[in-house]
């Protein structure tokens, strides 16, 4: 192999490598821009949606369990999301609580343990919450169950996003 040939191939190698690195850098710069362009759309879609939960007539003072299913799209896959919600009536007000334990996210159940009547119980690390979602001190959760915003249309309860109380 001649000296000249050798040099050329080395230069080529460098060129390729630099393009490679440059490509990477360009991707790094593009990513945030794409995100900025796409994110607001995603957020708006998520925020505006109110989903049908239950008929207002079905509600009493005892929390009942309902499951909400909706399609979520992360840009690659459409997947079915499921949320478990406890809902009951408090006078004219409706209380819709997320069943996701605020400790590490297990699903809690109303009166899930015989030892703790009238409470939400988390089977994972024995977290407890009062009927209104307030966490019981001395159990792992450090904040109340999240509560859904809701609205009543034609006698039916619709829920939006859940928020920390």
């Amino acid at each position: 192999m001649s000296e000249k040939n050798h040099n050329v191939s080395r230069r080529q190698f460098l060129t390729y490598t630099l393009t490679g690195v440059g490509g990477f850098m360009a991707a790094g710069m593009l990513m945030p821009m794409v995100r900025m362009a796409v994110d607001p759309v995603l957020d708006a879609a998520a925020e505006g949606d109110m989903n049908y939960l239950v008929e207002f007539d079905e509600l009493g003072e005892e929390p009942i369990r309902r499951e909400l299913t909706y399609e979520a799209d992360d840009g690659w896959y459409e997947s079915e999301q499921i949320e478990t919600i406890y809902v009951y009536r408090d006078g004219d007000d409706v209380v819709a609580l997320s069943a996701v334990c605020t400790h590490l996210g297990c699903t809690v159940s109303w009166e899930g343990s015989e030892d703790y009547p009238e409470m939400f119980y988390c089977p994972c690390h024995f977290g407890l919450y009062e009927r209104d979602g307030t966490n019981v001190e001395g159990t792992p959760p450090t904040e109340p169950l999240h509560r859904y915003e809701y609205e009543i249309r034609d006698g039916a309860v619709y829920v939006g996003q859940s928020e920390p109380q």
């Binding site: 499951e67 299913t69 079915e80 499921i82 996701v100 334990c101 400790h103 590490l104 996210g105 297990c106 699903t107 988390c122 089977p123 994972c124 690390h125 792992p140």
Partner: protein
């Protein structure tokens, strides 16, 4: 928690609370029962996902353990034992396998960890609502078994 970058990051912070590993067993085969093997995999995946949702904060859901039914035989049992060993070394107290493949039954004694055998229900043709209901009903049966298992060594 799932085998995803997001959940694994969370797992790392809370590892001591997550004492249980769940593994769906997924048969692969060519030949006559190819379709039924696929159905088993699909069903077990659905069940495992729902179980993870119920027990998110205490279980780590590993990717499926896949095996070649006819070619592997005992070999698959040995490999699965390896998974168990690794989980135990990482400090996990409970390792639970979910399967709809009855061929595991004959290895139950030999297996380390807990085998949950789920009778295969033909959910693939159901409409989404009914499918969902069927899965929830089945999971209701499984939850107490796992909670019992947890009682054996409370945290």
């Amino acid at each position: 928690m799932k085998w995803s970058t997001q959940d694994v990051a969370r797992y790392k912070e809370a590892a001591s609370y997550v004492d249980t590993v769940i593994v769906p067993l997924m048969p692969v085969d060519f030949g006559e029962d190819m379709k039924s093997k696929a159905a088993m995999g699909e069903y077990v995946n659905l069940m495992t996902d729902e179980l993870e949702r119920q027990f998110h904060g205490r279980v780590l859901q590993l990717p499926p353990f896949t095996y070649m039914v006819t070619a592997e035989g005992e070999q698959a049992v040995l490999r699965l034992k390896q998974w168990h060993e690794t989980a135990v070394e990482a400090g996990k107290q409970h390792v639970i396998y979910l399967t709809a493949d009855s061929s595991w039954k004959k290895y139950e004694e030999e297996l380390t960890g807990t085998l949950l055998w789920l009778p295969l229900l033909p959910v693939e043709d159901l409409d989404p609502k009914l499918k969902r209901k069927t899965i929830s009903d089945q999971i209701e049966q499984i939850l107490p078994i796992i909670m019992e298992e947890w009682k054996k060594s409370p945290q």
